[in-house]
Symmetry: C4
Subunit: 302 residues, 4 copies
């Protein structure tokens, strides 16, 4: 909130800020000329199933806050799966390993419905504050857990809170992931560069604008309040889709079951889907399908 | 606001986070198949009469902030009681013992109008920071005070700020309360589990979404501001009710006299009631009535 | 923002919190049965001319922030005076002594237009943190300055930020002020009690709800942002007036020239006045006129 | 957020606060009687191209936050240039030197399209916390960099975050700049005074109200969230223009590519331009053109 000038960045030599900027960067665009089956635009809905980890990650044990997360599994995910099924839409769920262990049946029902389960940290820890060894170990371990529970090896990652350390990308490369979905340099898929070199990892970009949390999150001891009306959130999401449709691009939306899964907010998601489905030439797909398709269209020469 | 990673939850052994999560949890649903007299949905309006305790709880003595609370008793409660009477609706008031002692006549008029008075802490202290002995003593003492003043023993509790310590549930069990209304794991009533065991306590779940404070609270030295338009708050509350009605469930709303009782905000409550009363098959009831009914429908075998 | 439980208010003996609550309190209502010339409702518009003191009070000297305040005098006050003149409305301006000294002509033009100038601290200091002697000296000194500049002795006070120390009321009594306008225990005028005794001081109550700052203030290094749309602010103010009109009461509004005086916000004030003036039976008056009238209607026996 | 009373400004002698207030102040108005070619109002659109410096300035290196800034160059600036070209509008871009060095082609394409590139700090450092020598050196050095890259010497400055030290104005005088655009004492252009003396520098005033950031900025570890609906932001900007048009004045708008350049927000800018272009007598111009015109109309006797 206040400005920390201790680092005195204005005194840095050019090579210092150039090095920081070039660590992880957007490379060539992977936006295809046309989407699958000639669709004009692609829609990638995703749900970050944080549930109780939003309490546990801080080392907290408040039964009240935990119950807010429990709602995500008990009420919200079933409600979301029901809606997706009724509209015949596939989506991606990014799940911390601890959540998968708390709710293995939930993950299996997601897979059984044809959706994707992707990596989303161990316990929603903040990557950027972890020692490299811890970050690496937890990311591999989380993939292990998800595979054991769902029977499918995750091919993509969304880091917890979209947080990215100086090592995150190299760990994802070591794991040979297909895609990352945590960065924001474009609206369209692109190839990630590390220190200027192509990595073969596809970025499916997120944005706070296309996230339910900034508008609707409530955390009692933080300044965050759900000040924005659901109708205004719907206005924003529709408008982001309109832009994607106009440009023939990708509309990628991040939601959280314990936030969007409430009665007054499922209205946003339901009306958004209805609005999009008025168009006949939109391809709803999982992140994995989007990334694979972009890879193929780019001539598989990543 | 900033992330406290000191606890290093990502290094915790599985048993540690499992124990935290299982301390207090949602058990079987107590949502009845049908509500009283065949009603399709139930509506439980509640008012947390914090008044001056929002100043006193912090050990503060600002006459300005105290006057904001005094408004709750002097203007808001009478206005609310008048509206409820005109619409023939019963509701629940959760009252800190200190408020009951400051305004005994207010509590008696609430009871005389057929409403319920429930537990709401001693002076709106934060349960989770109290030593066990203090929390236990204050909860028993508060019940004593409410009974002396109203002539009725309270059967339910809403903890101050919905805050819950590791001991709160066991104290409520010791007091043989019928229900708690401070947790959020569902939209519908459920039985509380403690360490995996059924407790016989019914949870009537709350949510910040169905609370006036997140949208409308003003506290000068905090970041909280009433940024949300009353019409947007009404939109949210209506939408939460719509969902409850569609699902044949419970719509439970928490308000605060010193917040909702102002002229421009009573509009929200009045229009919400008008909207709900367009339906002929909705049961407005106190929390006690709801909990008792759910208990009975569940075969009284808690 | 975080909860300070150090004071351990839950351990206080009853006499301690009773003493705090009874220090300054609302006494009998001074709402008249009918307003002047048979008007159904009264409207008291007020402007707190803080200008540069919102920078100086913190001991700051930022030219940028000072220019934000300078706008209040250079652009906003003339714009407000022009609007009030065009609608033939009298209002009250509460002016820190330092602002009066910086802009003596501004204060004189306010008086010349028939408006009121009232006390509003020395340099917008926070009363409650001042030693008693400082608070007393500054309040007397400020009255002196306003009288010298405007030729009229101020008869009412609005404390800076509506902040009230344990001594503020007794200082106002010693100064034999007619009214205070800083507290919030009612919508209607009332007599202030000090330690249970009537003081003869009339309170014309304010509220954050009827203030432009909570919705529209911008302070770069604070969390405050103008998140609320002007149309929503207008909705709130209209609704507060509607309630006052319905109850035959008082609608008192607090604004700040450097906040409301901008082009997109003068729309709020202009449309609000237009809306109110659709009624023919509303009395627009200064705070002084309101207080004097209430006093007279109460039989002058304060 | 909390009040710092340490400075004890209420004990200051009059000369102290008078000196602070008079350091930098608004002088005579430079609002012309009529705008170029008889236009009734002038519109000055500006874009502060902060890009990655919003991360670097704090000495941070988060790849996630950097990618948010990278979007500004990769996606937003081209989108903005395309829109401006399609509506035949010239605008001003204020660019930190570090951004110019990272994206020299971007700056050249801005110049090639006929827009202006102005000063905007070195790396978005906070002027007011710099030693005088550093501030002076960086401002000169930044002008050097912009001139080398664009081939044009910048004639105006917008300080980073509109922050102004006690030395900023004298450095701008030493550089013989035509205008500053960082202060807020008026809606219309005015001459800056330093310690009461005319400086010959024209101020083209900004305001947080006419800035996209207060409504739409998202910073994860700060309390800032994009709570305001784009339609409400559009309402505010239109209303500010309406006021300017009514008064025959200037409408100056500040935006940031990485904020306004997103799909759902370009709608604001596009609809705003459409709205303004319904009028045939509005002059869209760069800041440089506005300042030069005002200078000429004032008889060039600055």
């Amino acid at each position: 909130m206040t400005v920390d000038n201790e680092a005195q960045a204005w005194r840095w030599p050019e090579q210092r800020w150039r090095k920081i900027v070039s660590k992880v960067r957007a490379g060539r665009s992977l936006k295809p000329r046309v989407w699958r089956d000639g669709a004009r635009a692609a829609v990638a809905l995703s749900f970050d199933s944080d549930h109780e980890t939003q309490t546990l990650r801080y080392g907290q044990s408040s039964p009240g806050k935990l119950s807010q997360g429990e709602y995500g599994s008990r009420v919200a995910v079933p409600r979301i799966l029901k809606l997706l099924a009724s509209r015949q839409i596939k989506a991606s769920f990014f799940v911390p390993a601890v959540v998968a262990k708390l709710y293995p049946e939930e993950q299996r029902s997601i897979i059984n419905d044809g959706h994707e389960v992707g990596l989303h940290s161990w316990i929603h820890e903040l990557n950027s504050e972890l020692p490299y060894e811890d970050e690496r170990r937890l990311q591999f371990q989380a993939a292990e857990v998800l595979e054991q529970i769902t029977g499918q090896r995750p091919v993509g990652i969304r880091t917890g809170s979209w947080d990215f350390s100086q090592h995150t990308l190299s760990i994802s490369r070591e794991m040979e992931l297909l895609y990352d979905s945590s960065l924001m340099a474009d609206d369209e898929p692109y190839e990630l560069l590390e220190e200027g070199q192509p990595t073969g990892i596809i970025e499916l970009p997120v944005e706070w604008i296309r996230d339910d949390a900034p508008y609707l999150m409530m955390d009692r001891f933080s300044p965050y309040r759900p000040y924005t009306a659901p109708s205004a959130v719907l206005e924003i999401f529709k408008s982001e889709f309109d832009g994607a449709y106009e440009e023939g691009g990708l509309f990628l939306l991040t939601m959280h079951p314990h936030i969007i899964g409430h009665r007054s907010r499922m209205v946003i998601l339901r009306e958004l889907i209805d609005y999009i489905q008025l168009k006949s030439d939109v391809w709803f797909a999982t992140h994995k399908e989007i990334a694979s398709y972009c890879l193929k269209q780019a001539g598989q020469d990543l």
